[in-house]
């Protein structure tokens, strides 16, 4: 469980996050949704400590994470996996070396054990026979999946995904969403996903918070989202004409 209390963050006097408080639950896919530029990435990075919050608290279980000194943060970080908006695979390493990297860095496994784990993770995300390829030789969807494999290599307790399916076709996007959801349940991780894709929201939105202009406007699940009376959220959810038509049919 990750608890955020009264989190504030600004850049050069420009307020990006305002007083965000939220609880992210274990074993569930927690979604942060909002328009482009609303502060989702900044919120996620403030939670994991890549940005320093101006004020507020971030708790991992009962540890106050954001006030820990660097070395103690590292201990909790070894339990985190993160999928970045642009995949962030290491260009100079092959697929296999990318997934193996955290194992090299933080375990004392033998080479055979590491390769076995790497192949297990790659198989889990359905990347086969591509071990020796470089990231530049992969498609966008494959990169995301390799990045997921790298993120779960050390069996993390916490998984963070920044727009796991942006730039993917709807089918591949759903495959990735399902994969993240399955992994979350299988290993009972605490998973936080940033997205502005309504398909994902409807597929895997077990707990959803909606951010608009740095404020948390709404919190609920995928069933409640269709009947909320929060104005900005409705604009977001029913942005396209298909959704608007469905809503008017539904209301009749």
């Amino acid at each position: 469980m990750i608890t955020v209390k009264n989190l504030n963050k600004s850049f050069n006097g420009h307020r990006v996050l305002e007083n965000i408080s939220v609880v992210f639950e274990t074993g569930k896919t927690n979604l942060i949704i909002g328009q482009s530029g609303s502060g989702k990435t900044v919120l996620l990075k403030s939670i994991v400590g890549l940005h320093d919050a101006d004020s507020g608290e971030v708790w991992f279980e009962d540890t106050l994470f954001n006030k820990l000194p660097f070395l103690e943060k590292k201990v909790i970080r070894s339990e985190m996996g993160m999928l970045f908006q642009g995949s962030a695979l290491f260009d100079s390493l092959t697929v296999e070396q990318n997934v193996q990297f955290p194992l090299d860095m933080f375990t004392n496994k033998t080479n055979e054990e590491k390769i076995e784990r790497v192949n297990f993770c790659l198989k889990r995300v359905n990347i086969l026979n591509s071990n020796q390829l470089f990231p530049s030789e992969l498609s966008g969807g494959m990169k995301k999946r390799v990045a997921i494999a790298r993120a779960i290599a050390l069996n993390p307790k916490y998984l963070f995904c920044d727009e796991p399916n942006s730039g993917l076709d709807p089918l591949t996007a759903i495959v990735i969403d399902e994969l993240i959801k399955e992994l979350t349940m299988e290993y009972s991780m605490t998973t936080i996903i940033n997205t502005h894709d309504m398909n994902s929201v409807m597929e895997i939105g077990e707990k959803i918070i909606f951010i608009s202009k740095g404020l948390k406007c709404w919190e609920g699940d995928k069933n409640e989202i269709l009947i909320s009376d929060c104005g900005p959220l409705n604009d977001f959810v029913f942005a396209n004409s298909l959704a608007k038509r469905l809503r008017s049919e539904y209301r009749k």
Binding site: K73, M80, M82, Q85, A88, F90, D91, P102, D104
Partner: protein, 247 residues
Amino acid sequence: MIKFLTLVGNYFILLKKVFSKPEKPSVYYKQTMRELVFLGLNSVGIIAIISFFMGAVITLQTAYNTENPIYPKYLIGLGCRDSMILEFSSTISALILAGKIGSNIASEIGTMRVTEQIDALEIMGVNSASYLILPKLVATIIFNPILTLLAIAVGITGGGLAGWFSGVVTPESYIYGIQYEFIPYYITYSEIKTVFFAFIITSISAFQGYYVEGGSLEVGKASTKAVVYSSLLILLFNVILTQLLLS
């Protein structure tokens, strides 16, 4: 002024991060070997070619400036030797390497920053500054002094060959000249400078790359700045070190 002080402050904060305890020495060792090849071995060619031609030019110029028979011919070899050892092998090579490996380091690290690869390292709990920069520092500090020796040897050879083929000096008097009143300390002096310059090139370029914000445009700017700033600092430290070491 405040901006400048912040910059200097950030530079030293980064250095402190670079020199903290490595997570996994074996991984660092492997990285250092890789950097020795990328930053070191891959520079052998350019340094050899440039030194060869510099040696040749210095010899010819010394020869044409000392045509008056009152100057003994061995002065030509001596002139080439001392220019190569004192300035060329360390300072000029360092300026060339600032262009080659400096821009390489800044753009590599800068690209990793803007594509969130550095964030990915941090989130795993890796000290990204140390992991990315320390192996490069160690590799250049080990290898650049070897490049300096190479530059001296190749440059003096190039000078001899140019003198011989153009007929401005006989091989015998050239060889006599390069041995005449040889001061071994000059080599030490040159190597000390090289180590300082290697540190400047790598740390300044890495600093420029590490704090890039934005996209590929900013990475390009950072690598230009890396070359400019490290070249300027090399010239400045050349004066300071020469005063300290030779006076």
